[in-house]
Symmetry: C2
Subunit: 407 residues, 2 copies
Amino acid sequence: MPHAQPAGAHTVRRHNTGLVLGAIAEAGPVSRATVAARTGLTKATVSSVVEAMIGADLVAETGQEQRSGRGRRGTELTLSPHGMHGLGVEIGVDYLATCLVDLTGEVRKRRIRGGDNRNRSVTAVLGRLATLLRTTLADADALGVPVGGLGLAVPGLVEPAAGLLRTAPNLGWREVDLNTELRARVDLDDRPLILGNEANFAALAELWSADDLRDFICVSGEIGIGAGIIIGGELFEGVRGFSGEIGHLAVDPNGPRCSCGAQGCLEQLASVESILRAVGLWSSDAVDPASVEALLDRLSAARPATVRAVAQAGHWLGTALAGVVNVLDVPTIILGGRYATLQPWLAEPITAELTTRVLAATWHPVRVLASTVGPYAAVRGAATAVVRAIRTDPTRFVPALVSSGVA
Amino acid sequence: MPHAQPAGAHTVRRHNTGLVLGAIAEAGPVSRATVAARTGLTKATVSSVVEAMIGADLVAETGQEQRSGRGRRGTELTLSPHGMHGLGVEIGVDYLATCLVDLTGEVRKRRIRGGDNRNRSVTAVLGRLATLLRTTLADADALGVPVGGLGLAVPGLVEPAAGLLRTAPNLGWREVDLNTELRARVDLDDRPLILGNEANFAALAELWSADDLRDFICVSGEIGIGAGIIIGGELFEGVRGFSGEIGHLAVDPNGPRCSCGAQGCLEQLASVESILRAVGLWSSDAVDPASVEALLDRLSAARPATVRAVAQAGHWLGTALAGVVNVLDVPTIILGGRYATLQPWLAEPITAELTTRVLAATWHPVRVLASTVGPYAAVRGAATAVVRAIRTDPTRFVPALVSSGVA
DNA sequence: GTTATTAGTTTGGGTCCTAAACTTAAAAGC
DNA sequence: GCTTTTAAGTTTAGGACCCAAACTAATAAC
């Protein structure tokens, strides 16, 4: 363990501050006494921490606890609605989106700008994005809330640590320093920018919205196929942030040739695009909503050829996911994006493959669920990632929470 | 983040104790002053922590620092050779092994008992193992060193948290409560038992022996194929400890039927067994050393059919590993077990597949290396896992290191 | 109204950290 | 050979933070 940090009194305070904030977030309105009981800290410590957090406008007192039985009523504590917000930004293939999320994870404001981004230059798209972003920062001002940081979701291979977009095949982008480019256009002060892959942020959004799911992978695949991996309630990013790229998993060595040069890649056989192609609903070069509607209509009407095509995609998806589950040992698969609506037809063939191929399935069967977050999960997840960072370590965003910032 | 623990002064001490111990372990003999510089702690703190660790016999002073220039010479600190040891135990298919590893990771004693375990009952094998284990505990007594805990490596699917062996196909074992069974036979006091999969412990052994590798997967495959995953210098176990089961990754849907019921599983196409079968060297139902020697002879002699068979196995292995790398984003693959000796013939076909199929390979090529630990990596890793636990949090093993053990 | 019970604050004690002064040891300069 | 300089390690004083327990405050039950 090289380069580990020494610990001191401030470390303890930082940890406990996050602990208390987490307890307030999870237990809804709670009294100091309840927080103390839940966290294992003493009432004195909780009081002290809460006092600092109220001062930083992270927590607010919202009246008296309503409860039967005797004894003094506690003061209800909740996350402050005027506390720091997370700002999510998404560059989609055919839209730009931003959203503001408060400390509870609630979306306070969302803005979507439609328009195909594939026919525009990087500069043009970033220009439009900058405008949208400035508008959203103005929204935050209007709401009277500070923005703690930004999360930026992109449909491509991203190196979060470097702030670099390596490649976004569906946008036609390569090697864009998004962190620098964005800061050059919009004044973000020293607010952190969390750059990430669309699929990863979508997975985080699922994690945040369901409260009993701590381990799962969230798969979506309109044109390329990607998966966000959540283990132990944490995003698993791999070494450089490239994890979850399951689109080029080999499932059929005799399958169609892929743009990557190999044969039988999953995304040639199981993407929504490939399904639409198989049933003759592929129109332009995008997954347009009308085609997906038509597909769902045919499925509801139980047209054999359509059902078979989706089942075939499910078979390949299951084959690949079985591999992923064997490698990661994850108990749950969430179908996100367009897959979510196809879940009733996809789940069975996927489960069939999982059951035979996953060694651990005998003891712990793998569940296949549909996403509960719905569309625009990625922007929400991006904003959420900021909120998550604030909640985990509030002292990073509000240095005043710990007395001497000697670090 | 539910059920997180509150932090206090003892938490700080625990953290810093591990930090100092880690610094001493990594930097070889070092003075207190150097440790202070490396860890960022003050000299006063380091002195205090070191004093406690010397008292606990984890660290020893071994004379004066030799160095040019002026100023007082420091006292060299090293991990104590009489400090706590880790005891590794392995149940192999055709042997039983134990070893004692000191705090530096050095093997101090190793015992191997040959003999096919597949033709024996669970009870018989555990009886033999108990005897070997008692002998090894006596070895530790003779060396005058305490044993901090045990690591037990098994060739099968294991649930570490529960201490359960779910299934070991090559032993023919199912549902064995190894923790309970072993404690019933040998008095282990309250020493912790770390149960784990062979491949995982082998990977840990690699991690420990190389000092610049922090992210890799270590693959081996005599009959079944397994991989240990190391990310950020930590073993990635998955949710229940079943991670890395790559033997049943689907690589060829038209391939041979597997015992698991599915078709085209990797271990039917790329295990050492399957290679030996392909070249007509498969004799009994085990991978015997003589056959492997014969295989290596033919490869050295560049016999086309043999080279082709190994290359074919490498091709399938590469296909599967490309999937694993795409999912995990790991920059290095280590070939362990019998694969290590085949590395010169396997590396190229594996690399070829990785290069085309791994998206991130354009920016970060994947290396394919041979194991440096050699045989019996798993036992060593098992013992090592205990040492690693001691080094990470010595206070768990020596409560006296932190003043009031109030938790 | 008194009592029991629960919420939250105040006080005293303790651990562990840091910073800075101090002691010890050894080379370098004159 | 003695003084100076530099570095190692210890001692001391001060501060942050935690906990335990006493204390104050509020409210239902008797």
